[in-house]
């Protein structure tokens, strides 16, 4: 019987029939579709069209019959599973502390756990080599402390290193998701259970834990998804064919064996698994959303809660651990970039040598360090263009999605999120195939990199913009229209200004993702195209760790600035 308040967005509203949103929304959908579907089409063609230009299943069959394929898939799933379990186990105590207590350093843990979100994978790799390597900082420290002859930690280029790096990268996701949910669990059920005579542990087992399962499942699926398509970490830290995953194998076949058909066929397998995982993820998200009403956290409840000695020790351990675990590798990179051996005895001192080499003020022959300045510039241009284009697409698409309700809108939204179901290596492969076909000019090949980046970052940018766009009350738009502004003017003068901070955050996020992008760029680009992450990768490969650290420090600085800007925007301090 009731008409919904602000029912303007329902059937028959002029916003829904407004040609403006259709005109701006539709091309962005089509272009995004084109940018995403065309490379996929090229991959499908490579996988299913034979030499005689007819449809063939022989390549796929060949691959399916090869036990090597299944061994790789098994290992990929296995490493993702172990990584997920370890990440969740590391996150759980932290989530417990964050959700139930206020303590000194709580903000620090929260801040630390944001870092990996904006950290390019190549920096994680570099940080691990520098910090946990056999002659890494941690080993040096331990050897000096305990007067050891041999480095006690020998995890680099082993399975352990891969798992540790994945945990480093992903435990913050679990920490954030689970602690936020835990914090918002209504406490009255616990109170009720307590009045019914349940003890603390019983309450946890029977009341809290069952309700935490949906967010744990959701976080696990997301982490599994990320670890399944993890690339740089396995490529470098895995260090060999023993630890090859699907993504690494696709890259190896495409770029080293030049077996593009094989790479394309393998991609199909990866896409199928990814789509299943994304489906499971969406399902777990619904579980979380539907589970129960959440209540605004009552900070007083947290403050009043007494901390036992055990909890205090736990807090201290967790603080120390997470600082060392996350900040150690990052600090290691910065430290190494400013130091060089000054004596044969291994003593080190402060130096700017690596930076000078990077920017050509002291020439080193036959090193790629000299091209750092141009790589930096290229990375900036690519990241700027890609995040700008991605932002424009996402904003226009959001403006359309906001005014559209129902099944059509949902499918459009899911469609726009599709690139998330395809790994960046595969997008890189698709663009490589396009590049081979087009044989583009110097500028053209760079444009292809930008387009690949647009596809990769757009879902994330859209995820940042769309919810904020939907939060804008329709009455603002309606008020503007009645005040004499047409739909286009309303978009410019009301909707965009209201989105300001979301747009800045989304741009910053896209920029950070693009400037740190290695997977697609490495798969797609020829050797003349050098971006910041690619140089770092090559420097690691040629054991020039100091140079890699200097560049890595610059990349850390860029990410920090981007993160800072987006935080300011979120607090509304950028006017």
């Amino acid at each position: 019987m009731k008409l919904r308040k602000g029912g303007i967005a329902d059937s028959g509203s002029i916003l829904q029939s407004s040609s403006f949103y259709k005109i701006v929304g539709t091309p962005s959908v089509l272009l995004l579709a084109l940018l995403f579907m065309v490379p996929l089409l090229f991959i499908l063609t490579k996988a299913f069209v034979g030499e005689d230009k007819t449809f063939t299943l022989s390549r796929v069959f060949l691959l399916a019959k090869d036990p090597y394929t299944w061994r790789i898939l098994r290992f990929t799933l296995f490493q993702a599973f172990i990584s997920t379990v370890v990440s969740i186990l590391i996150a759980l105590p932290g989530a417990y502390l964050l959700a139930n207590y206020t303590f000194l350093g709580k903000k620090l843990i929260k801040a630390i756990s944001v870092i990996p979100f904006v950290l390019p994978s190549i920096l994680v790799v570099l940080g691990f080599v520098i910090f946990y390597g056999n002659s890494g900082l941690l080993n040096q420290l331990l050897m000096a402390l305990f007067k050891l002859e041999e480095p006690p930690l020998k995890i680099l280029y082993t399975f352990k290193a891969v798992i540790a790096a994945h945990a480093f990268y992903n435990f913050p996701i679990a920490l954030a998701l689970i602690s936020t949910f835990w914090e918002q669990l209504p406490s009255r059920y616990n109170d009720a259970a307590m009045t019914l005579g349940a003890k603390k542990l019983t309450i946890f087992r029977t009341i809290t834990l069952p309700r935490l399962i949906p967010p744990i499942l959701s976080a696990s699926t997301l982490i599994f998804l990320f670890c399944f398509s993890s690339f740089a970490i396995l490529l470098v830290l895995g260090g060999g064919p023993r630890f090859t995953t699907l993504e690494v194998e696709i890259y190896r076949r495409a770029r080293m064996l030049l077996d593009l058909e094989g790479a394309a066929s393998l991609s199909l397998l990866s896409i199928v698994v990814n789509i299943i995982l994304v489906g499971v993820y969406i399902w777990t998200q619904r579980l979380v959303a539907h589970q129960e009403e959440i209540e605004l956290i009552d900070q007083k409840r947290l403050i009043r809660r007494e901390k036992s000695v055990l909890i205090k020790i736990l807090i201290f351990i967790y603080l120390a651990f997470s600082s060392l675990f996350v900040l150690g590798p990052l600090g290691g990179i910065v430290y190494r970039s400013f130091t060089a051996p000054v004596s044969r005895g291994g003593k080190v001192g402060f130096t700017l040598r690596w930076y000078k080499e990077l920017f050509g003020s002291s020439q080193v022959s036959s090193s790629i360090m000299g091209v750092a300045a141009s790589a930096l510039l290229l990375s900036f241009v690519i990241a700027f263009l890609a995040s700008f284009v991605g932002l424009v697409f996402s904003t226009l698409l959001s403006s359309r999605l906001r005014n559209q309700k129902g099944r059509y809108s949902l499918s459009l939204e899911l469609f726009a999120m599709l690139p998330m179901a395809v790994s960046s290596v595969i997008i890189g492969l698709g663009y490589l195939l396009i590049s081979n076909w087009l044989n583009p000019s110097h500028l053209g090949s760079r444009a292809l990199v930008v387009l690949a980046h647009v596809v990769i970052i757009s879902p994330f940018v859209l995820r940042t913009v769309l919810p904020e766009y939907r939060k804008i009350s329709f009455s603002y738009t309606q008020a503007s229209l009645t005040l004499g502004a047409n739909v286009r003017q309303t978009f410019w003068f009301v909707e965009l200004p209201l989105l300001r901070s979301a747009l800045i955050t989304a741009f910053a996020f896209g920029f950070a993702l693009s400037i740190g992008e290695l997977n697609a760029t490495l798969t797609l680009a020829d050797s003349s195209l050098v971006t910041l992450p690619i140089i770092i990768y090559r420097l690691i490969g040629s054991y020039n760790f100091a140079g890699a650290c200097a560049l890595g420090t610059i990349l850390i600085l860029i990410c920090a600035v981007v993160f800072f800007v987006s935080e300011l925007a979120k607090r509304g301090e950028i006017k």
Partner: protein, 342 residues
């Protein structure tokens, strides 16, 4: 002249909205009805936020059906005010002026004038977020009036405010309406608000206009039982109960008594009380006499009591100027004060 909506029809899954309405120039007309009856939708149709496919809307002699929202020059105040949070008070009020190509000086002058009209002089640079509810309401009104619209629409403009502020601001709105002389449509679910503020009132039920008349006429002669009950309190009895209370003092029996199955309705202020049972009821016209009625509750309403009574398990309502000390009472109502509904 004024606003004419003729034969407008919009179909919704729940009901069909039908609008046939003529508002004189300078008149203040309220639309009242329960939430979801289609009153806000009516406003959105008139502004053009919802397209009008059947019927016509004429404003001051001009057909505006096919004009887009932004060309209609209709001011609207929204329930949540919809003041743009990214603009200050001045820029909010001047928002419509920039599309009218007014110079900066003219805009400043107009904003000043508008703020004076709503009694918020000197508020130009204030931020929207720092205004109180009442101040927001005034700024929203000033913004809607700044472009000198031909019609002002107010969509439940006072519903977000507390009772005291509501009463104060509705007088303000009435004053501003008299000062500007702008044709105004006022949507509210509060019948008291409608009764005090309007020249005429539209009562709406499930998308249909039940009655369109002056406040007094609607209160005293409601066209339907729904209108009667919506506009104020009263007693509802089925015709089958009439014979039990009927007292004929005049020669002629009223015609309606001959009809079959209908409902009767009367307001509590028309009911006469008798507390002293030893005296006869001082009523010499035809009336209904409810004897030995049980008082269920007495609600003090400031200055009078509303008596909730029970008679043959039907509720009866009456007013009393003082608290009744007995448990039972006699009530009477003249037949001429009774409304008949089928």
């Amino acid at each position: 002249m004024g606003l004419i909506c003729s034969n407008i029809e919009v179909n919704y899954p729940e009901f069909t909205l039908k609008l046939d309405l003529k508002v004189e120039k300078g008149e203040l007309v309220s639309i009242v009805g329960p939430s979801g009856c289609g009153k806000s939708t009516s406003l959105q149709l008139i502004t053009g936020l919802i397209p009008c496919t059947k019927g016509s809307i004429t404003l001051n002699g001009q057909l505006i059906n096919d004009k887009p929202v932004w060309e209609r020059n209709i001011g609207m105040v929204f329930q949540d005010y919809a003041l743009f949070p990214h603009l200050n008070v001045e820029k909010n009020i001047a928002y419509s002026l920039r599309f009218k190509k007014l110079s900066k000086k003219e805009r400043k002058e107009k904003v000043k004038q508008m703020l004076a009209l709503v009694g918020l002089q000197g508020y130009e640079k204030r931020k929207i977020g720092l205004l109180s509810g009442g101040e927001r309401q005034r700024v929203a009104l000033a913004r809607a009036l700044a472009s000198e619209p031909q019609l002002l629409l107010l969509d439940e403009p006072l519903s977000a405010l507390d009772a005291k502020m509501r009463k104060h601001l509705r007088q303000e709105i009435k004053k501003i309406h008299s000062a500007t002389g702008i044709t105004t449509l006022y949507v509210t679910h509060d019948q008291e608000e409608a009764l005090t503020i309007s020249d005429r009132i539209v009562v709406m039920e499930e998308g249909k206009m039940v009655q369109f008349d002056t406040a007094e006429e609607i209160y005293t002669n409601p066209a339907t039982l729904f209108a009667a009950q919506f506009m104020g309190e009263g007693t509802l009895l089925p015709s089958s109960m009439i014979e039990k209370a009927l007292v004929i003092n005049e020669n002629k029996r009223p015609d309606f008594l001959a009809k079959e199955s209908y409902d009767i309705f009367f307001r509590p202020e028309d009911v006469v009380l008798q507390t002293n049972f030893s005296l006869p009821m001082a009523e010499y016209k035809n009336h209904l006499l409810f004897e030995d009625v049980k008082i269920v509750a007495q609600e003090y309403q400031g200055g009078r009591y509303l008596l909730r009574c029970e008679w043959n398990s039907y509720p009866l309502l009456a007013y009393s100027s003082s608290k009744i000390e007995t448990d039972n009472i006699n009530l009477s109502i003249r037949l001429e004060d009774i409304k008949i509904y089928r």
